[in-house]
């Protein structure tokens, strides 16, 4: 893309951001809004980049949280996929176990995070478990939907040529379900970040732990800076999955393969 095209693309989303930041800066500096309620964007910038040890601590916390989110997400992706495949193996399996998979969707993670600490301790394992619990259901549900909506004609064709269960799974069902699986992973990526941060509220450490500290110190500038970092983490994970999706589905649609 040319520079002009980039400008054209970035201008619409960036403009509101600039306007809001400018308004915040002015409102606080003019004393219309108290600085302990809303930080100036410049102070958030300071906390993120020019606050010496404080800034370094934040970026290190980002890495910790990234670690927990990625691990929890990877666990969700792998186990979610396996669970969905097992659920479709027979009608009775699905009827017997799917309701319990739904349970994961309704778990109030805030409420059970303290319990996870008791079970797993004040370390990364709790954070990973928390990220996993909130992010596994979308993977299961979307993979399941994908596996169940395989083209019936193609199923017939596989039957006609005597394909076994394994061949049908790997050569037909899973590839057919790929778009649905990717949708599930995209949702799971954002949820895994939330789950990891909630876990860190309890265990300390990472962005979640830092938010707790900043809140107690009434440092709204730091809280905002950490929120930005967690959003950054979510966007990075989401983009990685989008990229993986575009690469793996590039032949499916004429628009993307024609060029």
């Amino acid at each position: 893309m040319s520079i002009a095209a980039w400008v054209k693309r970035l201008l619409p989303p960036v403009t509101p951001l600039v306007v809001v930041f400018a308004a915040m800066e002015v409102a606080v500096r003019m004393g219309w809004v108290k600085e302990f309620l809303v930080p100036t964007p410049t102070s958030v910038f300071h906390a993120l980049f020019t606050d010496g040890a404080g800034s370094r601590e934040m970026w290190e916390a980002l890495l910790r949280t990234a670690e927990g989110s990625f691990a929890g997400f990877a666990l969700s992706a792998v186990l979610g996929l396996i669970v969905a495949v097992v659920l479709t193996s027979a009608g009775w399996v699905q009827r017997a176990f799917y309701p319990y998979a739904v349970f994961f969707q309704t778990v109030p993670i805030i409420a059970i995070a303290p319990l996870l600490v008791i079970w797993l301790g004040f370390d990364l394992r709790t954070v990973v478990a928390s990220a996993f619990i909130v992010s596994v259901f979308p993977v299961i549900a979307n993979t399941l939907a994908g596996l169940l909506s395989v083209d019936p004609a193609l199923r017939d064709l596989f039957r006609l040529y005597g394909a076994g269960r394994v061949a049908t799974l790997f050569k037909l069902k899973l590839p057919s379900a790929l778009p649905s699986i990717l949708t599930g992973l995209r949702i799971a990526a954002g949820l895994a970040v939330i789950g990891a941060i909630v876990g860190e509220f309890i265990t300390g450490g990472g962005l979640g732990g830092l938010i707790g500290v900043a809140r107690r110190e009434q440092r709204v500038d730091k809280v905002f800076a950490i929120l930005l970092l967690s959003a950054l983490l979510g966007v990075v994970m989401f983009s990685l999955i989008n990229l993986a999706g575009r690469l793996s589905l590039r032949h499916w649609h004429a628009s993307e393969s024609a060029s």
């Binding site: 017939d156 040529y161 499916w252 004429a254």
Partner: protein, 268 residues
């Protein structure tokens, strides 16, 4: 690894149906007492209005569905081993139903892959099948890059790749424009001429049935029964000229009248 069945040389599979009936749960009778004999290597069109149980019949013949009652037998004059039936059959659907993540060559090779044929052997067979449908230069392309007519030709090549002795087609060209469809009709007729398999071609088009088949079986609307079983008097050679010939028009009329009778629910 099994070798590609070289069944084409051994001709087609015959077919015997006696009082085949298929009723679905809830009481809908799709097919009601069909009796039919198809000789090995025959090209038979099954003509009927939409929803007359043509597809149900075809699925039953393919072994994808079981008739509620009646006898359905495949007669393979050259069968050496039993239980080989599935591989001798091929099925073409109304839409191409290709795998979007596979290129054309790998789509066509898919049946052989499922049957356990070695990779280089199945690639050769797929290439050969694609050349037969005139797609020798589109092998690396993906289904999304093809037109509807090309996709259908890939689907046809996929069916031909196992050298089937019984080819079942369920309104395969119904979604295509008239010209493309006529070309594909001619191509199919040519494939049959060379390979000599038995063909059962389900359609709701009188023109298509008359052009393609040696014999047309006209069905009533649901529950499906046979109105007439008509041997067409057109020669073996079919071409564009066939479509304007007098015999062709006369045959179309016969089929049209039978179809009308069937629509009023009057079996012969």
């Amino acid at each position: 690894m099994t070798a590609i069945p070289t069944s084409a040389s051994t001709g087609g599979i015959g077919l015997t149906l006696r009082d085949v009936r298929r009723a679905f749960l809830g009481g809908v009778v799709a097919v009601d007492g069909i009796s039919l004999d198809v000789a090995p290597g025959e090209f038979v069109a099954i003509l009927g209005p939409s929803g007359c149980g043509k597809s149900t019949l075809l699925r039953a013949i393919a072994g994808l569905d079981r008739p509620t009652s009646g006898l359905l037998q495949l007669l393979d004059p050259n069968a050496k081993e039993k239980g080989d039936g599935g591989r001798a059959l091929a099925y073409v659907f109304q839409d191409a139903h290709l795998l979007p993540w596979r290129n054309v060559l790998r789509n066509v090779a898919m049946p052989l892959e499922l049957m356990g044929v070695a990779a280089n052997e199945r690639a050769d067979a797929a290439r050969n099948a694609l050349e037969q449908v005139g797609l020798g230069d589109a092998m690396r392309r993906y289904p999304a890059q093809l037109s509807g007519g090309m996709r259908m030709r890939v689907s046809l090549a996929r069916a031909m790749v196992t050298r089937p002795r019984l080819l079942l087609l369920d309104e395969p060209f119904a979604a295509l424009d008239e010209l493309t469809r006529q070309r594909l009709d001619e191509m199919l007729r040519g494939l049959w001429d060379r390979a000599g398999m038995t063909v059962l071609f389900v359609t709701h088009s009188i023109a298509e049935a008359a052009f393609l088949a040696d014999r047309a079986v006209v069905m009533t609307r649901r529950p499906g029964r046979v109105v007439i079983d008509h041997r067409l008097t057109l020669g073996r050679e079919r071409s564009g000229a066939t479509r304007t010939s007098e015999v062709y028009v006369r045959e179309m009329r016969v089929l049209y009248e039978a179809l009308e009778r069937g629509d009023r629910g009057e079996p012969a």
